[in-house]
Amino acid sequence: MQRFFDAELESLRTHLLRMGETAIRQVRDAIKALVESNPSLADQVIAADDELDHLEVEIDNEAIRYMNLRAPVATELRLVIVGMKASHDLERVGDEASNIAKRAVRLSAEPPLKPYIDIPRMAGIATEMLRGALDCFLTDDADKALAICKRDAEVDEINRQLYRELTSFMIENPGTISRALEIMFISKSLERIADHATNIAEEVIYLIRAKDVRHTDEVKKTSGA
């Protein structure tokens, strides 16, 4: 049965999806700015972070208003809660993308330490995870969301590998320290983005199944953290 306030919930869903699309675009553009040594594109990413901040506030306001006035229960309540939590994760993704862009600006002033292979690979997995989590939100696919959670281990492993590699660089050649550190922080940002994508996937599972899978064996990483 349709209700006159259904549009409010639909607005929350729409804003969340728009936030997701924007966050994915921000990560891709930040990595592109790094790989192409394009400070202008990086500046655009930094400026566009405001949009995600505003969307997070908007979604929180919509969620609180809906809970206050409509007393949602069951699926609707879970949707409102997930909306608030996922918007926070997406806002943090935006912040990490903005941080990557700032480092890309600094790195564009020097020759690259080595060809960027692992960083784009990490970014590819992280954005696939984000895209997948949003798709699961649209299609009510909890099994696919669970599979996304398990991919986080891949990103963690690349991060650890890069850490070891860059440490060797710095030891062998202290002149690479500033660039190596910037890349280490970029790798850490991508690792955090994958964590946020995992959080969103867990939240989608909660929305669909009313089951909290955080910190359970069901989502533990295949290669261990």
Binding site: M1, R3, A71, P72, V73, A74, T75, L77
Partner: protein, 281 residues
């Protein structure tokens, strides 16, 4: 033959003895107040309840919800045989209170209704009686007249109903001089005065304002320590606030019964979700 309520215990003895279950067998099953199996009811040719099976726990609040005409009030009235006041009703199935068959051939309905008290949607203090007389009428009708006993039971019942402080200096005033919320609490005190084991409440707050409703809900919350409460309500938020378990009825059938948290967070049946979400129809 199923167990019956021992008919030789007088109503007087039951009222003075207090609200404990009346048999040792019941003591062993005291965690379940009502054990109901395949229970059906008819009003003449019309079947109003269809094969209801449900176990209602003791010293908890169970909410009965469902759209108008679903059988909520019919069900709750079956729990103390109030439906028998309507000619042409008949039942089938098994309904036990603490292990004892409430419909056994030797069971007195008046004894059942002493053990299973009821409060109605519209408060109904006796209009010609004072506040005190309203509370004590059940005891007096059963021959209990000792003054000290009655005075003690009067104060105890009004305190349990969270009304004593408001009326202790005006006990002689008519019951109908109280506000709507106070009248409802007076009716609860009247029900409690005869020491029931169960308190049935059929939409007790539907005629009350939010403040009076809140007071009755606080009372329900405090009563659960000593009483089993079964409450019919149209107010979803009230069911969510007040109850431990919730049963959803539709067209005379029990559709879903679970912990209240589960019914309102993740109901198993789509009809239940539609109803609690306000999207039924």
């Amino acid at each position: 033959m199923a167990d019956v309520v021992p008919a030789k215990i007088s109503v007087q003895q039951a009222m003075t003895a207090g609200g404990a279950p009346s048999s040792s067998k019941a003591m062993a099953e005291e965690s379940i107040a009502f054990d109901i199996k395949d229970f059906s009811m008819w009003y003449g040719a019309r079947q109003a309840l269809h094969d209801v099976t449900i176990r209602i726990p003791a010293k908890k609040v169970t909410a009965i919800i469902g759209p108008s005409g679903c059988g909520k009030s019919t069900f709750i009235r079956a729990l103390n045989r109030m439906h028998e006041l309507t000619p042409g009703t008949r039942i089938a199935g098994d309904l036990r209170l603490f292990g004892e068959n409430l419909y056994g051939p030797e069971v007195e309905p008046t004894v059942v209704r002493r053990r299973v008290g009821m409060v109605f949607q519209k408060s109904n203090p006796f209009p010609t009686m004072s506040i005190a007389e309203n509370v004590l009428v059940g005891l007096r009708l059963n021959g209990l007249t000792q003054k000290d006993f009655l005075r003690q039971r009067l104060e105890e019942s009004l305190r349990m109903a969270a009304l004593w402080d408001e009326v202790k200096d005006t006990l002689g005033r008519p019951g109908i001089s109280l506000s709507g919320g106070q009248q409802q609490r007076l009716c609860i005190a009247r029900a409690l005065a005869v020491k029931p084991e169960i308190l049935l409440m059929d939409e007790p707050c539907s005629a009350l304002d939010p403040i009076a409703t809140a007071k009755v809900e606080e009372l329900i919350h405090s009563l659960r320590a000593n009483y089993t409460v079964v409450i019919v309500t149209h107010n979803m938020q009230q069911a969510a606030r007040c109850s431990d378990k919730t049963a959803f009825f539709y067209m005379g059938k029990l559709i879903e019964y679970d912990e209240t948290r589960a019914i309102f967070m993740n109901p198993a049946n789509p009809q239940t979700e539609a109803y609690v979400s306000g999207r039924f129809g």
